[in-house]
């Protein structure tokens, strides 16, 4: 198989229902990865006896210098690293086995366990199945028929004497150890490094210089012009005899973490008392580790105190009886609504998750214990950003939700008794309620016929939200967030015939790795999955009785494993339907070794930099190096993180950063026809060990090439070298390219004819010119290498060909047209912002994603950046939180026998901390048999995005005009289908249901996009890039790009404003994108997704100009203003609060461009006014008339 990292998500062989023995399961987990890969580890030094002291903490000081300069092992450092990790696993898991049998009954010296109440479950599963279960079985399930039959189960905790939850007030819920990840000792290590740097050995220099020479002349047949230079000839040597073994420190640290955590728990349990204990609130302690990647950087720490306080207050506020319900709902709401909206908070908030897991792996929490789940109890920092417009959809009424997930308050919220009551199973309910039309008035509104030619004000006051699937409230509450998982039709038609009749596409829009505020993480020996279709257990399965569940995708009846009977949240037994897997539609599992084909790879980053004359001229290198230097510590990863650098012009330059060198060595390979790796072990180096060298390289790189006269670019050979360099490990390659590749393999010719830019006939060359980049990407994908492309070109660089390298290796593409560090400050700023986000955002390695759906539905086509490995499996070498996917579906068999259709996306990936994880999203939608129901549930935004993806495929495979025609036809088909479906419709004109009233507008906007427009001058690269964006951007971002949000800023009122923390965020109304809405006396903000335009009209009020812009009058506004000054006026504060709020909702922060009425930049703004007629495209009204004329009578 060409994809070694792909693991057997689906192989039933790997599935071991490991329900009986607990302690025994640890060794296979630990040895599993090693066994199948003996060849990956060179015998020398790895399996060969390691120094005995290596398995113990504290040997660091005595460890010998491990990396000799001439070490020859291929991938030497990698294996050392993974070896260390294995050692660590062994070491940390051993104590677990000892501790495991007796954590509760006989408290070991570790204090935290002693606090566990006596009602806690017994230690082994064997005991569970013998004692408590029959007891419960009688009490709970004596009468299963009535149990499941009744829809409402009032609170009757008294019915279950056997299920006493932990007493309120005692630290009942599992107290999770929380060990800050190993970076804390690292500072000490660096201290040692820098001090030893003063021990300079001038004599070493010669050997240093000599060694690469030898290596270099080794392949004589290549005819290499072997030259290498030492960059700065200082000649000092860093003796690396300090390894860092922070891993090993974890177990000694663990009790501290444990204590601090329980401290935090108590504080949060203390109601409104949000004051952090000395060791910090849970969140604070999580983030206190400096090495923890994203938390610090996004200022999450600053927020976390407030967030924990807000969590507690929200819990304390409601009445006593419903405290828990409310709290959970609050959190769930935040999960669904606020979750992942903002890059700034979410990356940070996602970070507690790995930390928890690390602490688990770190050994304080025995693996062999009954399944534990592990969740973050953090209210998101921006939790009070309530998204008011969505709130009605998620009612806060606590009463009718016995199924409110208890999983969110893990940390010992009192009163779990409430949840130990039996509750009617969701899916049982759903069977009864799912297909019913529960919200008739909403449906009526969605179906109200709208004559578009008459009704002019179509836009809702606030940006459109995803429509609610017509489900029972219980299902609605646990359903997957529309930001993660969205379907074009929230009511799935029963048959393909009905779907065809509706003339709407059926598909999913997925944002699976999105930054989440809150994510239940589940560690369990057994991940419960359907035995036939391998679906993960989810909230929409049916529990037939306590021991059997029915898969909601294939309807097979499965057994509930013993382990699953225990609920770690409530610490009770016999409630499989209350486990977090069954309470949350988005969960993350910690995967066992069954899900690995090789040991989890470390985070590996390779930067491939163009240093040709063109690149130097553009001047990006300096800013890249600055940004990377700044973010070096924030790169996601752990102690195994490795980095490497590679530069190229007409030759390829490698950099030897082996620790112990005094400065980086540049190795030049000029044989680009057969590029080879000059030395294998020292080009990709451990970031921690070689940080000084990396920093030195980054600070000297810009100057090194400042006088380069080399104009050629050998991108292809550089990529080949990068592939060779990375293939042993996999990882991420970031390519920075500034011009058309002109040398070696993969060279390209300019295909753009500038005279054809505004042609209306059709655009050529949208597809790749060569399959070199595609093949390379497939090779990379097979070796788990993701390639991200930054194109900073002022000239045509054939993005259509180059982008293939990212497209099929699951990378991302960034394009900065006419980038120049001096002449184009706007692009420079954007580049810097993007880089900051890019370098620090979460990353998952060696990932695969499988999408399963209810029997009868099948996947038709995927859209996005990936390689499709089989009909429902995507291979993603890297997965990043900013890329989304679209899936076209078709209905193969009738869905008539079920009232619900479910979709499950499971993303298996290796986190940057080297942990294998599975993120599972499940979406549940009703199945309908009436066309009107299909229309009522249509999601116009999702439909537009899916059509955009389809149109782009069409324009590449067929032609642009074909794609445009298809889009117009989509509108016409829909309108005529609706007309024929509504028999009593008397109106003439273009009539659509209200749910789809924006459809023609969005399609017109789509036709005016750079990607699909004709007649307007559009550079080929910009067009291709717009197409790439359409394929990968998540839906909200895409919709803003497609149909920007226009607001009037100068007369914002506080009506409907959001109150967040202390700031008031006004919510101005959306305006139609038409010049007639831009009055001559206003100030308007246009939110285009990746850029803001602030339009100041000629007669704009003096107050606004003075208070917000800080200028005296209109004439004195500088033309290139790109930020709103921080003035202390009320108006300025409101404008900035609004802008900040908008910024928080996106991953990459967008620059603000101020546009004056008279400036030439007016054109860029006016091209976004899609309702107006432009030179080459019709206005909205004309478009509607065109549709009306073309429609069959």
């Amino acid at each position: 198989m060409s994809a070694p990292g792909f693991t057997n998500t689906d192989s039933s062989a790997g599935y071991s229902p490991n329900s009986t023995s607990n302690g025994g399961s640890a060794p296979p987990c630990q040895n599993g990865p090693l066994l199948p890969h003996p060849s990956m580890y060179p015998p020398a030094g790895y399996y060969g006896a390691p120094p005995p002291q290596q398995s113990y903490p504290g040997y660091a000081a005595s460890a010998p210098s491990k990396a000799s300069l001439t070490s020859s092992g291929r991938g030497h450092t990698y294996y050392q690293n993974s070896h260390r990790q294995q050692q660590q696993q062994q070491q940390t898991q051993l104590p677990q086995q000892h501790v495991a049998p007796s954590p509760y009954t006989a408290p070991p010296p570790r204090q935290p366990y002693a606090t566990v109440p006596s009602s806690a479950p017994p230690p082994s599963n064997a005991q569970y199945s013998q004692q408590p279960f029959p007891q419960q079985h009688q009490t709970l399930y004596a009468n299963p028929g009535s149990y499941y039959g009744q829809p409402s189960y009032g609170a009757s905790p008294a019915r279950h004497p056997g299920l006493v939850s932990p007493p309120a007030g005692s630290p009942g819920a599992p107290v999770y150890p929380n060990v800050s990840y190993p970076s804390a000792p690292a500072s000490g290590q660096y201290g040692a490094l820098s001090s030893s740097k003063s021990v300079s050995g001038p004599g070493v220099l010669s050997t240093q210089m000599g060694a690469p020479l030898h290596q270099f002349s080794a392949p004589p047949g290549y005819g290499v012009a072997a030259e290498h230079q030492t960059v700065n000839g200082k000649g000092s040597t860093v003796q690396n005899n300090t390894h860092h073994h922070q891993h090993y420190d974890q177990s000694p640290q663990a009790p501290h973490g444990y204590n601090s955590y329980s401290g935090g728990t108590q504080s949060s349990r203390g109601g409104a008392d949000g004051e952090p204990p000395p060791s910090g609130t849970p969140s604070a302690s999580v983030h206190s580790s400096p090495g923890h990647h994203a938390g610090l950087q996004y200022g999450y720490v600053a927020n976390s105190g407030a967030s924990s306080a807000s969590a507690t207050t929200s819990a304390a506020a409601p009445s006593a009886s419903s405290t828990d319900d409310d709290d959970e709902e609050e959190e769930e709401d935040e999960d669904e609504e606020a979750g992942g909206d903002t890059s700034s908070s979410s990356t940070g908030s996602a970070s507690p998750v790995p930390n928890n897991y690390d602490s688990l792996e770190g050994g304080s929490y025995p693996d062999s214990m009954p399944p534990s789940n592990n969740m973050t109890n953090q209210a998101p920092p921006f939790g009070s950003y309530g998204y008011q417009s969505m709130q009605p959809a998620y009612p806060h009424a606590p009463a009718p939700h016995p199924d409110a997930s208890p999983s969110h308050n893990v940390y010992g919220q009192p009163g779990y008794q409430q949840y130990s009551q039996p509750f009617p199973n969701l899916s049982q309910l759903s069977a009864a309620l799912g297909g019913l039309s529960g919200v008739p008035e909403l449906e009526v509104e969605a179906l109200r016929p709208v004559n578009l030619l008459q009704e002019r004000n179509l836009l809702p006051p606030r940006p459109l939200e995803a429509p609610e699937p017509n489900l029972s409230p219980d299902l609605k509450k646990v359903n997957c967030s529309p930001q993660t998982f969205r379907c074009t039709l929230t009511s799935i038609p029963q048959t393909q015939a009905l779907l065809n009749k509706a003339r709407l596409p059926l598909g999913l829009l997925l944002h699976p790795f999105r930054d989440l505020q809150q994510l239940p993480v589940i560690t369990s020996n057994t991940i419960v999955r359907c035995r036939s279709c391998r679906t993960y257990i989810n909230p929409f399965v049916t529990f037939l009785d306590q021991r059997r569940w029915k898969c909601n995708l294939c309807y097979r009846v499965n057994d509930v494993p013993d382990e699953f009977m225990y609920n770690p949240v409530t610490r009770s037994y016999g409630e499989p339907h209350k486990r977090p897997e069954v309470q949350n539609s988005t969960v993350e599992f910690i995967a066992s070794s069954d899900y690995m084909l090789r040991p989890p790879q470390p985070a590996v980053y390779l930067f491939v930099l163009d240093v040709s004359h063109n690149a130097v001229e553009a001047g990006y290198l300096k800013y890249f190096c600055e940004s990377l230097l700044e973010n070096l510590d924030k790169l996601p990863g752990d102690a195994r993180t490795r980095v490497g650098f590679l530069t190229f012009d007409s030759t390829v330059h490698f950099y030897n950063l082996q620790e112990g060198l005094s400065q980086p060595q540049m190795l030049v390979v000029s044989d680009i026809d057969d590029v080879f790796i000059p030395t294998h072990d020292s080009l990709m180096v451990n970031l921690k060990e070689s940080k000084e060298l990396v920093k030195e390289l980054l600070s000297s790189l810009p100057a090194m090439f400042s006088h380069s006269r080399e104009t050629h670019s050998a991108l292809g050979p550089a990529l080949q070298a990068a592939f060779k360099l990375m293939s042993p490990t996999g990882g991420r390659v970031s390519v920075f390219q500034t011009q058309l590749p002109t040398l070696g393999a993969g060279k390209l010719q300019s295909r753009e004819d500038p005279n054809q830019r505004s042609s209306t006939k059709g655009v050529q060359h949208l597809g790749p010119a060569t399959d070199f980049y595609k093949k390379l990407a497939l090779d990379c994908s097979g070796q788990q290498i993701g390639v991200d492309l930054f194109l900073l070109s002022s000239q045509y660089a054939d993005l259509a060909s180059l982008a293939c390298v990212s497209k099929y290796s699951a990378g991302s593409v960034f394009y900065y047209p006419s980038f120049h560090c001096v002449h184009n400050p706007a692009q420079l700023e954007k580049f810097q912002r993007d880089l900051d986000r890019y370098l620090t955002r979460k990353i998952g390695f060696e990932a695969v994603m499988r999408i399963r759906c209810t029997k009868g539905l099948s996947i038709h086509t995927f859209h996005g950046n990936f390689f499709v490995r089989s009909t429902d499996l995507l291979s993603l070498a890297n997965v990043n939180p900013d890329s989304a996917f679209a899936v076209q579906m078709s209905i193969e068999d009738s869905l008539a026998d079920s009232s619900l259709a479910c979709f499950q996306a499971a993303l298996l990936y290796t986190s940057s901390k080297g942990k294998r994880r599975i993120r599972v999203h499940t979406l549940c939608l009703p199945v309908v048999s009436q066309l009107s129901d299909v229309y009522a549930g249509a999601d116009v935004q999702a439909i537009t995005c899916l059509l955009a993806n389809m149109a782009i495929d069409r324009s590449i495979s067929s032609s642009l005009s074909d794609a445009r025609d298809a889009l117009v036809n989509a509108v016409m088909d829909f309108v005529s289908a609706y007309k024929s479906s509504v028999s009593n419709l008397q109106q003439s004109g273009v009539v659509v249901p209200a749910a789809m009233r924006l459809f023609p507008l969005y399609i017109l906007a789509l036709l005016k996009q750079k990607a699909l427009r004709t007649g307007t001058s559009t550079r080929l690269d910009e067009r291709t890039f717009a197409m790439c964006e359409f394929k990968t951007q998540p839906l909200p971002q895409l919709m803003r790009m497609l149909h920007p949000d226009l607001y009037r800023l100068d007369n914002m009122s506080d009506q409907g404003a959001l109150h967040l923390n202390d700031t008031v965020v006004p919510q101005p109304h959306l305006l139609h994108l038409s010049a007639e809405r831009l009055s001559r006396d206003g100030a308007f903000l246009m939110d285009c997704g990746n850029v803001f335009y602030l339009w100041i009209s000629k007669c704009c009020s003096e107050t606004f100009i003075r208070d917000v812009l800080g200028c005296s009058d209109y004439a004195s506004i500088p033309p290139n203003m790109s930020r709103v000054p921080e003035l202390q006026t009320p108006l300025s504060e409101r404008v900035r609060a609004f802008l900040d709020w908008l910024q928080d909702n996106r991953a990459f922060s967008s620059p603000i461009h101020l546009v004056k009425d008279d400036a030439s930049a007016k054109a860029t703004l006016f091209q976004h006014l899609v309702e107006d007629r432009s030179d080459s495209a019709s206005s909205y009204h004309e478009f509607l008339q065109h549709i009306q004329q073309q429609m069959p009578k």
């Binding site: 010119a769 595609k774 497939l778």
Partner: protein
């Protein structure tokens, strides 16, 4: 009854069509495997692509033979497939190696279904033509 060139052509075509039938069956099986997730599309394309040109060339070869033998009806029957092959190969995706199938698009449901349908149609065509050649051979042998 004499052994003419035309008879020889029919005999040769008979043998070659038998080979083409195997090609078509192989083709169908390969796409079925793709559809049922047994195979990696890259591997599958790597095994299928080298077979495309041989198949086309075999077909072209006995078409030329029939041309030489002046078997106009037979040639006429084969022309549509010949034209289809030419069109198919001209409109193939950008590839540097011979073949038709691109592992990045092959999993697209439309293309997969198209390829499967193509396989079945070709199998039917080859089977029918196999018997036609048998008939033609006997007819030529008997009539001359």
């Amino acid at each position: 009854m004499a052994f003419t060139f035309a008879a020889f052509c029919y005999m040769l075509a008979l043998l070659l069509t038998a080979a083409l039938i195997f090609f078509a069956i192989w083709h169908i099986i390969a796409f079925d495997e793709l559809k049922t997730d047994y195979k990696n599309p890259i591997d599958q394309c790597n095994t299928l692509n080298p077979l495309v040109l041989p198949e086309y060339l075999i077909h072209v070869f006995f078409c030329v033979m029939f041309l030489c033998a002046a078997e106009w009806l037979t040639l006429f029957l084969n022309l549509p497939l010949l034209a289809y092959h030419v069109w198919r190969y001209v409109s193939r995706p950008v590839m540097s190696c011979p073949g038709l199938y691109d592992p990045t698009t092959i999993m697209n449901a439309d293309i997969l279904a198209y390829c499967q349908k193509e396989g079945w149609c070709k199998l039917a065509f080859y089977l029918l033509s196999f018997f036609y050649y048998l008939y033609g051979m006997i007819y030529v042998l008997v009539s001359s």
